[in-house]
Amino acid sequence: MKTFNIVLILLLAFNTSCQSQEKKNTIMLNYKAQTRGFLYQIEFKNDSIEINNNNLVKSAILTKSQLLKIDSLLNDINFKKIEDNISTNELAVDRAIKGVFELNYNQNSYFFEFSHNNLPKEIENLMKLLESFTN
């Protein structure tokens, strides 16, 4: 009985640890930039990605190595230094396109509103990488 209990506890601990690891590694990213006559959208969850570029939709199931590249790139971004950069002054006269960026990564949630044609370099690189996986 004693041995059974120990095995049960170990199994439970192992399972919880795996779940936590899985949760930690789950990446969810949504990005949508839209204005009159333009739509650009990325939906990325687990290993599945779909990019809608003005109604040209491309999707892919990512490989482990691709996921690792994304993870590594995200890990290198200091999200504390990333700032919203959309100006309503520009939106009000159609000079800019608002891009709404939502990311769940490493159990953190990030939300930004960018000027789509003036993305922070790190975010631009991330999007380029994601795009390269759907080509």
Binding site: G37, A92, V93, K98
Partner: protein, 354 residues
């Protein structure tokens, strides 16, 4: 106990002072020259609108103060244009009190004198010609005709305005005439939105007498932008609207945006109209009393009714983001705003002054 009560009182005060901008619908009828709801656009207004609403009023004031320091001239001019507009509109009301305050206290300036009759606006078309995106005389002439239809309530699609809005359809009585066409060769595929196309030194074409003309630049803007504008009160050298080459007039290359309404929309901004949703949530208004509150643009060709902020959106308004054929009205309130800038002391008075 005293300390506890004091703490609660401070907490309560802080809570009241930083009330979130909820989705309440703004009261459209405001005091005649009440400028309290006038906002100067700030980055924060847009960026935090959905993410951290509880703090936005307090924080946006900080951002506003910073921006006013950075560009006090522009913000002051925008404020003055808005105040002049509201004074003009209030003066039109039977019980109008253009000077503000209660019952028109002595010493208030007289209301601006409105310009009655047709307003004629000469248009100078400045084309940065990309051979891959030709701009023909037919495109130009059709654009002028479309502007004239839209600003004189003769867009045939206007017959489709729902009964709810039928009495609000305006005839702005503004006529556009083609004054000149300037062409310059360009192979630039992306001019962007930093006004380079308006500057000969950067390869563009300088504005022609912007105090007396509407300058309309046509070029490859790029980046998904169909067109953009400048509000009244900005620098004269960049005053006007910019339209992407494929979206000028009737142009098959523009698809559902190839029927000239990008120019109608941008000229609306040039005449001091805001987007119909106010570029914010329900509380952020377009400063027009007869357009329903909304919290986002509409796209495509919406079916009526489209409900947002507890009312039906005026999706067919030229200042929404729908397809060209699905926008076909200005409202009377928008017409008042446009006419105001041609009144005495208005930002575009020079266009109607001999």
């Amino acid at each position: 106990m005293k300390k506890l009560i004091l703490s609660f009182a401070i907490l309560g005060l802080a809570f009241v002072a930083c009330q979130p901008s909820s989705d309440e619908i703004p009261t459209q009828e405001t005091a005649q020259i009440d400028m309290s709801d006038f906002y100067v656009y700030t980055d924060y207004d847009a960026s935090k609108a959905t993410s951290d609403a509880k703090e936005d009023k307090c924080h946006s004031m900080k951002v506003l103060n910073r921006q006013l320091k950075e560009n006090p001239g522009l913000e002051n001019r925008m404020y003055n244009v808005e105040k002049h507009t509201r004074t003009f509109i209030a003066g039109k009301k039977p019980d109008g009190n253009p000077g503000g305050g209660n019952n028109g206290g002595g010493g208030d300036p007289p209301p601006p004198t409105g310009y009655t009759g047709t307003i004629t606006i000469p248009v100078v078309v400045n084309i940065l010609e990309d051979p891959a995106h030709p701009v023909t005389t037919a495109h130009i002439n059709s654009q002028i005709a479309i502007l004239n239809a839209d600003f004189n309530n003769s867009n045939p699609n206007t017959a489709g305005v729902p009964a709810e809005f039928a009495s609000l359809v305006a005839n702005a009585d503004i006529t556009f005439t083609l004054a000149a066409v300037n062409r310059k060769a360009s192979t630039k595929s992306t001019w962007g939105t930093n006004d380079a196309m308006k500057d000969a030194a950067q390869g563009g074409i300088d504005a022609t007498d912007p105090a007396n003309n509407l300058n309309l630049w046509v070029c490859e803007i790029g980046g998904g932008i169909l067109g953009y504008a400048q509000f009244p009160g900005g620098a004269l050298a960049t005053d006007g609207v910019v339209i992407g080459s494929d979206f000028l007039g009737e142009n098959t290359a523009g698809g559902v945006y190839g029927h000239g309404r990008t120019a109608t929309h941008e000229v609306g901004h040039w005449l001091n109209l805001r987007h119909i949703w106010g570029d914010g949530r329900c509380r952020q208004d377009d400063f027009v009393a007869d357009t329903p509150s909304s919290d986002a643009p509409n796209y495509g060709c919406p079916t009526y009714p489209t409900v947002n902020c507890k009312s039906n959106d005026m999706t067919m308004n030229y200042m929404d983001y729908v397809y060209d054929d699905c926008m076909y009205m200005f409202s009377n309130g928008q017409n008042d705003r446009m006419r105001a800038i041609f009144a005495s002391g208005g930002a575009r008075e020079s266009l109607v002054t001999p």
